[in-house]
Symmetry: C2
Subunit: 198 residues, 2 copies
């Protein structure tokens, strides 16, 4: 016996992150019972997105067109380039900060054991952009993990080879947090990098 | 400026229960970055389900065909009818118990203030099935909430009118729970309905 449409839908919903059997059931029933129009819209949006969203040829961020809106914009500061690991990181920076430069999305981090080297991260294309001139500062916003740090180190060398100034966002105590609950690594780093009160 | 495909997808994902802006973003990025095939399958499954899943003409459960698999089955006990509020309740009973009778799905509960009366719950169709004879016992498995109890009371009267024996699942302490953490209403009910140890 082949699976029913309902079973197929529940199985298919599990492709979403954080959705297990029980959540998938609840989602399927919710859509069928209360919001079939919304379900139709979601099916259409998903099909269109999967089909038509590719990568921007300049920054490798997700884009429907050859060049994404940010890369195509005249109002961005082309002297600044921010390198991030994922499109979600790019979005977080765009939403939280007033950064107005350009981006480059690695879609990963250097991880030789997983077979992810400079080529997989598009670093040849990044090197090409640095070589073109125009970029003065490269903000390396990889995650503060072991692999992210290794990637940052590699990227900083790449920047210096092209006479571009590499920089990193500040690391230290998060605002609004309590000292007591900050992890040891962060606290130790924050003490080591303390600055004099002016 | 119209919303991008990515923005449309994130917005559309919020139709799913328990999915807010942040989860929707994460889902959209996950699908685009790691599992486009899965995304395509989900889009197809969703479109097909929304389009083709209707209600069984006998039990009102979700069904692709005129009559659902359970109602059409010869191996079910047609003397037993279990009335539930939602298809999810039906599935939970089917998965957890060895009940082999038939079902009737209300798709709701009596709630006069929301304009949900006997007609909206398909009780005319239920009365028709009871009048046809054949059903000896009707298990009323509505939720133990105020509205569910009111619905159960109404259904019990309906069953008696057609000489069908109404019954309810036992209410009391959940197995494996600790007495200390059981809510007061359940504990009080369990004490009131205590039975002698044989």
């Amino acid at each position: 016996m082949t699976a029913s449409l309902l079973e197929q839908l529940i199985e298919a919903l599990r492709v979403l992150p954080g959705v297990g059997q029980k959540s998938a059931q609840r989602m399927a029933y919710h859509v069928l019972e209360r919001n079939r129009d919304g379900g139709k819209r979601l099916a259409d949006a998903l099909a269109a997105a999967v089909e038509r969203i590719g990568q921007c040829s300049d920054c490798r961020d997700f884009s429907e067109s050859e060049v994404c809106a940010i890369c195509a914009s005249n109002s961005r500061d082309a002297h600044l380039l921010c390198v991030v690991e994922t499109p979600a990181d790019r979005l977080a920076i765009e939403q939280a900060t007033d950064y107005r430069g350009l981006y480059f999305v690695l879609h990963g981090r250097l991880s030789p054991l997983d077979g992810i080297g400079p080529r997989e991260l598009g670093l040849d294309r990044l090197a090409g952009r640095l070589a073109d001139g125009g970029i003065q500062e490269m903000i390396i916003a990889t995650n503060p993990t072991v692999e992210g740090e290794a990637t940052a180190h590699y990227l900083a060398q790449l920047a210096r080879q092209h006479d571009v100034r590499p920089s990193r966002p500040a690391h230290g105590l998060p605002l609004g947090g309590e000292l007591e609950y900050v992890d040891r690594g962060t606290l130790s780093h924050a003490f080591g990098s303390r600055s004099e009160v002016p």
